[in-house]
Symmetry: C2
Subunit: 229 residues, 2 copies
Amino acid sequence: MVIVRDTLVDALVARLRDGVLSGRYPPGAYLPSERELAAEYGVTRTSLKHALSRLAQLGLVETKHGVGTRVLDYLSSGGPELLPMLVVADGPGWLEETFQARREIGALVYARAAERRGAGHCADLRALHEAVAAAQTADDAQLAECEIHRVLAAASGNRVYGFLVNSLLNAYLPVRQLLIAPFRDPGRAAGRLTPLVEAVCAGEAGEAHTAAVRYLAETERLMLSGEDR
Amino acid sequence: MVIVRDTLVDALVARLRDGVLSGRYPPGAYLPSERELAAEYGVTRTSLKHALSRLAQLGLVETKHGVGTRVLDYLSSGGPELLPMLVVADGPGWLEETFQARREIGALVYARAAERRGAGHCADLRALHEAVAAAQTADDAQLAECEIHRVLAAASGNRVYGFLVNSLLNAYLPVRQLLIAPFRDPGRAAGRLTPLVEAVCAGEAGEAHTAAVRYLAETERLMLSGEDR
DNA sequence: CTGGATCAGTGGCTCATCCACTGAGCCATC
DNA sequence: GATGGCTCAGTGGATGAGCCACTGATCCAG
């Protein structure tokens, strides 16, 4: 386990972000001036500006020179990069919707990959599949599992799907412990993955699609119920 | 037309980002130290830090205290928020893949919305549809069209799809001129939208799905060919 | 009523300076 | 020879004072 110490700016971003997500700073409203905020949080204006700059990059606020910093409506203008923080902020609601999107988009990606399968991709997939089965620790299995999704996304022939999968996987990071559960027993994980991986490698598009949907639905049911821990 | 003057930090971000995307700073490599970079670009270290902070938020680099700033592999760790800059950077390739993803995910969203249609959503949709038809300028039509996508995403009952749609729509912003083309003639735009909107409002899920795919495919063909301008 | 000047308040940016962290290398100790 | 602690150079983190540029409201002269 690596000890990670948040930087001051990270902490500031978290505080301000929570203020926005919780509605303390509602959409359309202006934040207090940088000088006021800096005084309120007991930091330099420089540090506060760093934090605001990152909030702006996230699409949570918008800063205009000479005017002020306005809160945006993240629901109507935000992107999936907000998911990780939303999942921890209000939990189950966002998590379930993320799972649903992942399942449906995952099925799309899997079907595409099956259609376009190439020898190289299949080799990667088999190797990763074996890595999951052989993994001694839950962490290893989890990492390998993530890699499988990424390899499939790459095999879909559309890099945009790679980005979407990355975002959806990142949304899980904060609740990683829950996710690891189904992989505590490497044998079971292997058993569950086989049909999907085999189907994709064999190029059976229709069957792969069906298998993918079934696999993802089952996996997520386990994750949400917290069963098998 | 509003005149937007980029801030110094914006320009810095653009320069550094191009350096990363172009491979001048390859994945895994370390950037020069902040002091060196600041000198090279003729700016204060403070400003440079702001820029690096935003690059980090974008997932392009990773900064570690006492060590340095390392370039990440955006293809394997980035999210769809990178699309806008990739589309302008190397154009057609990313644009086509974005269109494909938008078409397939759009169809998913449309089908979902048709399944779960509610009176309120349908009213919104009809109003927007009429706004597109009535729009006097291409800009208006484009904005209303974006709104239709957002309303549909909202009607799908999954806020994550809203985020995904936002990201994909944002990817178009840099090439907005191209996109506006099919809407130069409001009458045609209206004619093209009708079947989809009607189908969703009528709740014919299967037909809506088919119509959505056909509509999106046609629209994007026009966009890519640049025809009808 | 209009157009320009003023002014208070806001964010943009700089500078000089110090602190905290990391990793490499040295060296005495075991 | 291996180990553990030390120093040191180089890196990013943070400060705070200060100045500049922009915006919008207000006021006033025309």
